[in-house]
Amino acid sequence: VSFEDWIFSLHLLMAATLVGSLVMSWIVVVSLLSAHTPGATLNLSRVGMVGTVTTVIGLVGAIAFGIWLAILRDAFQVWDGWVIAAIVLWCVAAVALWRSFVEYAKPVEKARGLIAAGETSPSAELTALNRSSTGLLLRALASAAIVLIVIDMIWKPGA
């Protein structure tokens, strides 16, 4: 097993971590739709935080090992069209995910504020934040970009 094979394995591991974490975060996001109390919101956010950390690890690891692999391999180069397309899609996914993390931090802050104020009953404002359409759209955009990256990696158009 060569050094290049190890980099390829780590690239695949990071990619699987990224897509798996996205699936996990979708499960949490769907669960948040029915969270009306500060306690439920904070409990789900704890699970979501694990997904956020693994998503970031997968996002950074996949691009780092991917570019390293493109440099190591003679069969393709970083400036190949399908590699550049993947990098552009990665940037779209990274920005959309970052903005969705910011969006989903809002209900957590609100829930902490409500608990600090001694309010543990359902809150209409908190429910609205948990059902943020902006967060859902950003998450959907990032997921679409990552699915396109996987398709690009499998078919390698133009390679």
Binding site: V1, D5, F8, A16, V19, G20, S21, L22, V23, M24, W26, I27, V28, V30, S31, L32, L33, S34, A35, G39, A40, N43, L44, R46, V47, V50, G51, T54, R73, A75, V150, I151, I154, W155
Partner: protein, 61 residues
């Protein structure tokens, strides 16, 4: 080895590979969500239900 495998993989297998990867990552993500929910539940019913695979199909959360 991966170069050789990629070179000998017929194009008609690409869609099957895509389905295989999507399925594998969905299972991985679902297991990660399940394990995390159960580990962080601290007795919370909602997280225990989320962590229980049998509940995912009908009543998430």
């Amino acid at each position: 080895v991966p170069d050789v495998l990629a070179a000998i993989r017929p194009d008609e297998q690409s869609f099957a590979l895509l389905l295989h990867l999507v399925g594998a990552t969905v299972v991985f993500g679902a297991l990660l969500a399940s394990a995390t929910s159960i580990l962080l539940a601290r007795g919370d019913t909602r997280l225990l239900r989320l962590g229980s695979p049998c509940c995912w199909w009908g009543c998430p959360g």
